[in-house]
């Protein structure tokens, strides 16, 4: 049981680090490098350096939350299954 708890928390920590890197990417790196995209236009969108901060990073931010939530649900289920298996033994 103790091992399982430690295993679960290790997985959560790993996931947290991955998402932290993703967050730094959308909250610091993309906004700061956006001015390099000045003049890049796709279809009817405004220039990408503007649109990155006014739209794109927010959408990625929303997606990241739902992805994290789905991954954590999977991990929670895995833990529950393992706990019940251990109880059977």
């Amino acid at each position: 049981m103790v091992d399982l708890k430690a295993y679960y928390w290790r997985r959560v920590k790993a996931l947290t680090v991955i998402f932290l890197i993703a967050w730094i990417t959308i909250a610091v790196i993309l906004p700061l490098t956006a001015p390099l995209l000045k003049g890049v236009r796709i279809l009817g969108l405004p220039s990408m350096h503007w649109y990155m901060n006014a739209f794109i990073v927010i959408v990625i931010g929303v997606i990241l939350i739902f992805v994290y939530s789905a991954l954590m649900d999977k991990l929670d289920k895995e833990l529950k299954k393992k706990v019940s298996e251990e109880e059977l033994l």
Binding site: L32, G61, S69
Partner: protein, 581 residues
Amino acid sequence: MNLTSPVNATIIATICWILCSVITTLIGGEFLGSLIIVIGSIFIYLVLAVTLRSTSVAHFYVAGREIPALVNGAATAADWMSAASYLSMAGAIALMGYDALPFVIGWTLGYTLMAFTIAPFVRKSKTYTVPELLERRAGGWGPVRTTAVIMVFVMSLTYLTAQLVGVGVVFSRFLGLPATVSVFIGVFGALAYAWTSGWRSITWVQFLQYFVMITMYCTPVFIAAYFLGLLPFPQLQYGNLIQEIEMREMAFNLPLMTEPFVRSIGGGKGPINWIFFALVLMLGTMGLPHILVRFYTVRTVHAARVSVGWALTFIGLLYVTASLYATIARHSFSALWGKPFAEVMNTGWIQKWLPTGLIKLEDKNSDGILQPAELIFHGDIVVVGMPDMFGMLWVIAPLVAVGGLAAALSTADGLLLAMSTAVTRDIYKRFINPQATETREVLIVRILLVIIGFIGAVMAYFALKDPGFGVYVVLLVGWAFVFSASTFTPIIMLGIFWKRLNRYGMIAGMITGLLISLPYIILVGIAKLPPIELFGDKIGTIGWGIFGFFGNAIAAIITSLLTKPEGPEVDKFVESMRLPD
């Protein structure tokens, strides 16, 4: 049919509201009709709140922990988006262009970080308030709780004042009623929704208010987009509009709206200040008490995680629309540049808004032609003036006011309740009368709601009466994020992910954070000393908060390592936060 069920009662109230508005308009004309439309909306929320009345402490503190994820997400969004987001943000973008975008990313991306570092763990702690969570994390040490309650007040009271000022602004901008008096109408509304059953009633009222707010925000901008041929998805199609604006700006040798880092924001300038400013807003978001409490009100940890996603979806919807708003308004304004003065003066919406002072026109070089510098507009005109710029039906304007009122009231409610419950549970029940009965606790919450609401209203009254004081209210709201980012946020994150953090570390961290950010605010923000420069960029008072955040974390870690660990009880509490149900 059960007339007292929340859904039915709300529908009936809405029908009454529509009927009353139509009848008043037919009898009394447009002005009275507008008045009924705006004030009647307060009445609908009141009906919903009354059907949800309760005297259970769990309902008051955490809405009985039974709110579904999507509802909680919408309520968080309403809690979050204030009168300033609704009325002024689009205006800030129209005026400052690229250099106002830190508001957009700063007030949204904090939720992404919060989703995997704070929200689910706060729910798992099974506590009722943030000060309580911090006290348990500090091994039941009272001073941490008291300090936290004081911080809750420092952040929430100024913010509440700003919301009530916002209510006054909505009434005066749209209806021409005196803002000072309207403040008291606003505080009555906010009080009443929280009075009936605390977080339970305001959560559902906020849920309703979110949809009111977003519908009313989008209506004029979508009508305008229709005139400009930007439907069906104006947020994805306004590229050409920006290009037209840029061409006009180039023709008059102005810095482009989309040009990065040319204007100052928050008292600083340049890319470093720009990103610091945004980051402090993000980190500050995560420590604001009325937002944190939202994650107590959901059913499960799973719901807590998902509800952050919904919250950002709903918030993002308004924030990505703000830059569209700004673009359309700037397009309308820039269309007037270079035209003869007489023609500009004859434009309908200019005539209507000139007397309010939101637009100023002056032929400085007396050439009879309007130069860009001769047309000065206040940021608020972007949202409140949009219906007139495109000659929309009169009824659109009061509907936009209804949305603005919903934005101000929903935020005021969350703040009022965060403060009242903090005093009741964290001071009264914890230190004064631990044996208090449920009825007693509910009574205290209600009394405090009235007292704090009144204090907020009086402060808002003075802010509106004395513009000098009003300026500080606006600044204080920004600084609330600095305080939040340099006190609560690092402590809560460390408390979850680092078991070794102890009570002394927590106190040392919060004090260090304040000692770093507060003097800078006083010296640079109030005493107007020149800001510090980093690599040639001036750092404003808000951007400086980033040092408060890291200073806090470093002081907390060093102090914890130098003093003895908290022991097995706190370890167990931390473990219980980390594991699923």
